[in-house]
Amino acid sequence: MLTIDCTITPGNERETVLAIDDLLRQMDRAQVDRAVIQPQDRCLAVANAEGNRRMLEMARAHPDRLVPACSVNPWYGRAAAEELLRAVADGARMLVLAPALQGYILGDELLNPVLDALGGRPMPVYVHTGPHLQSAPWQLALLAERYPHLPFIMGHSGATDFWTDVVPAARAAPNIYLESSFARPFTFARHLQALGAERGIMGSAAPRNDLKFEWEQMRAVLKPDAYSGFYGATLAGLLERGAL
């Protein structure tokens, strides 16, 4: 069974310090085949190109284990769209948006040039959700309706306070997938039971969380035999479609 961790930040600052060798060891211990790696906070907010290059380099060194994500801050306007296309051309397989860090309300038309730059390519768009004003599940639903061909991954499933909104918002937009990190197994399991296993994606948010601990806890609640898509196949399908 293929296992992929959707949410890893191998950074070198603040609470996301994680060296690549350490990450690979942790993945081995947790029996995780692959990980999508995304830039650290400063690189999500301002130093987009630096962060994207770093992810691409790490993934190139371990192409069988690491899948590079990229991010651009839409406040950079045309330069953001150009950086996104450059990163995609170099191998980035997922776009990461962090409205609270990047400074806009999720769904703001500011995002249009960035998402339009993807053209018809159904690249998965991971959105960090949870911050109250900037990144709520229903804000994501509105955006997802505007771009129905793009798969949107609701990072953290609105944790903590939007647990009531997650399932109805995801039902409103079938191109939304729920990512599990920070949502905690005892809450996330209820989301998937309501929405369907095929709409879930596993993420640990390491190193903010302990990778092995998060996988163990989740496997204890959502049994791998019944949720194989959640643990890897669903995300693999999205990444594959986005790479076309």
Binding site: E15, A100, G130, H132, T160, D161, F182, N209, Q217, A220
Partner: protein
């Protein structure tokens, strides 16, 4: 010995077991949790339930043989009636703490009655627990503002700022010696920062168990254990600090 500093008697439990704590205690036993502060649940979302829920929580605690410790709630916007209900809970129900959830209950901690309640808590040595981590009424900095105005009262950030406001929580706890934080909500890295930056004598642990039947204890206790704290710090967080705060035997 473990004292869980954040549990509720939720509607699901009240429907299933009324005021019988035996099923809940079995769960606690499986984690070696000896005691737990028990907070209301229905009363946090329905003002009409406040007195009934305070009675219910007290009865559950009474039947637990002292393992569950009652925590009262009132709605500050009820003014004099709120203070009277708080006095009743302290005097006749044996409440050992106050709990407020400004986000769910819908009030600002700047409410004048909150000042009266904070002073009442100080008078009776009761800690005041808050839901926190949620704008616009439950931010750690707002509760820190209350702690600043009432230095005799001990306040507890019930969620240590959750996932978004934990840095604010750390700053608030460092600034005010009468402000404590409960490790119940922040991720692992944030909890590490709490232990690096704050006085561990004012940190406790909680599970938020009891809103429904889902069991958050395994995850949340596991998260604390994953911090790999020195034994003496772990003992403080899980046992000594809560006993001191609640004035339990062995403190």
């Amino acid at each position: 010995m473990i004292v869980d500093m954040h549990t509720h008697w939720g509607a699901a439990w009240a429907d299933q077991d009324q005021t019988d704590p035996s099923q809940g205690l079995k769960i606690f036993d499986s984690y070696d949790i000896t005691h737990a502060i028990l907070m209301a649940s229905l009363a946090l979302s329905d003002n009409a339930e406040i007195a009934r829920d305070n009675d219910r929580v007290a009865e559950v605690c009474r039947r637990s043989g002292g393992r569950m410790i009652p925590c009262l709630t009132v709605h500050p916007c009820h003014g004099v009636r709120a203070v009277e209900e708080a006095r009743r809970c302290i005097k006749t129900l044996g409440a050992r703490g106050m709990k407020f959830h400004p986000w769910l209950q819908g009030f600002s901690v700047m409410d004048k009655t909150m000042d009266e309640l904070a002073e009442l808590a100080a008078e009776h040595n009761l800690p005041v627990f808050f839901h926190d981590g949620t704008p616009c009424y439950s931010m750690p900095s707002q509760i820190a503002g209350l702690a600043r105005r009432h230095p005799r009262t001990i306040f507890v950030l019930g969620h240590a700022g959750l996932l978004e406001l934990w840095r604010e929580g750390i700053e608030a706890v460092r600034r005010h010696t009468n402000l404590w934080a409960c490790m119940c909500g922040p991720h692992l890295a944030a909890q590490k920062e709490y232990f690096r930056c704050c006085d561990h004598q004012r940190l406790v642990w909680g599970s938020d168990y009891g809103f429904g039947f889902a069991d958050p204890i395994s995850y949340r206790l596991g998260l604390l254990q994953a911090l790999k704290l020195p034994d003496h710090v772990m003992e403080c967080v899980l046992d000594k600090n809560p006993r001191r705060l609640l004035r339990l035997a062995g403190a």
